[in-house]
Subunit: 303 residues, 2 copies
Amino acid sequence: MSEDFSGGAAYVDGRFVPLDKATLPITDWGYRRSDVTYDVVSVWRGLFFRLDDHIARFRRSMNALRLSPAETDDDIRRILDRCVRLSGLREAYVAFDCVRGRPIVGKPYHPAHTRNYVIAFARPWVDLFSPEIQARGAHLIVAKAPRIPEESIDPTVKNFHWGDLTRALFEAHDADADGAVLVDRGGFVTEGPGYNIFSVTAGEVATPDRGALEGVTRKSVIELCAELDIRCSVRPVLVQELLQADEIFVTTTAGGPMPVSRINGRMMGNDRPGPLSSRLKATFWKKREAGWHGAPIDYDAPP
Amino acid sequence: MSEDFSGGAAYVDGRFVPLDKATLPITDWGYRRSDVTYDVVSVWRGLFFRLDDHIARFRRSMNALRLSPAETDDDIRRILDRCVRLSGLREAYVAFDCVRGRPIVGKPYHPAHTRNYVIAFARPWVDLFSPEIQARGAHLIVAKAPRIPEESIDPTVKNFHWGDLTRALFEAHDADADGAVLVDRGGFVTEGPGYNIFSVTAGEVATPDRGALEGVTRKSVIELCAELDIRCSVRPVLVQELLQADEIFVTTTAGGPMPVSRINGRMMGNDRPGPLSSRLKATFWKKREAGWHGAPIDYDAPP
């Protein structure tokens, strides 16, 4: 009966299982029509980071897609907590999804007539860029193809419509780069595969006001800028501005703020992480270590 | 050992299982990034319909996404055949997917470094619109939100990026309609959730040349038009043309050509399936019954 959760612990529609045994039906519209929303929260030194923000965003996303699982926000909080406790991880990547479910025999074959349910898992910490890449600064390219426009798919509702992002990852791979930036059809910067984008020009930090997820790490960096008296704007950012920026960095739950040292092959500064990006990253982690926005996990509690 | 395949039979990465036991990992990028392509072929009276066309399209889709599973085209043919034989179904909906797979520990965290694999299943026949709806003609609406543009996601590579289609299905549901038509940002008709669109005006049949899957049933209807000396064009179709059409019908593997009797509440003809749509539907099924483009399944063969 005692299962091994050390590789990660999952919750699928009411049951807790080791991550490597967690599956969903191949006929679930969550897979088959990517009819699903999700969120990801990180755990560092045994603390959830801004858990309430993530759960609130998840609920907004579910409402936008008319997904209503049985689980309340409090249930979700308890589920995530238990996944982390089962895994025993002090540093974890914790994802939670709500899927549409399957068509039900005898009911109309329509997404309105399904039973929505929650999937969640805690797995060992993921750095979107490896520590080595973070140390030298990531190399990004601007992807050729435009991001799916927000009129078709709302990027503030976190989703798995990653076809354009995956193609951009292959473009980056072919160019020997680490990642990509996607632009909309008006030439404005949107986001990358799993991260928000920031540019720094003449001491001003800027991040796009459109076409992007309202990232929790993005929001945290905007707050940090205010604390540190760094000018920071949420506004349209043309790709030309990005290509000529003094510094670039990205933000993601999977590793926090991460400096970029090259864009389309151009080296910024001395081909190393820029001073402002490095300062924001260091401050972010110093505060995280000190428990900033942290929600503790009681690892000794009974399951 | 003897499992019950009567509800459907599936193949998942090398193993045949009853459909209701067929699952994929929640960490598979096929689910988690909708990094997958698929195809669907129908079986009617024990015959696959245009199986080679479907397999060829599936291979083109996989190549476009750089998916290369171990299975050859011949393997896929054998797998689909065996799924149908296991299920014993004479009328079936047979789907086959290729998913990206999971990130592999010790390899770069990138879709280029995964093991792609095939999923397939045969399940009882699905009519996208019920026989009752087909008899009176489907009621469609034009969805408010634009289809994901082909520059971002290529609609000829069959995919599960259904967010816009699902939203359109809810719009239809709210308007008490059966389905929806999606338009691109230029006002041109693209496709619906699971079907191609045809309009008929002054005896000319027309179907969009853009923003849509190159459907196998669509292609079959185009061939039928040539045989029946009906003028048929593949060309841009503005939404205004559709809204004023004499007749509309849709085509799908999940049920063949299906007449439409209302668009945005407007009744066409006498609020019944139009004569040309009905003639094409009847001819399609007469030919199917006679084995048109059929590949037989040897139900008595050993597994």
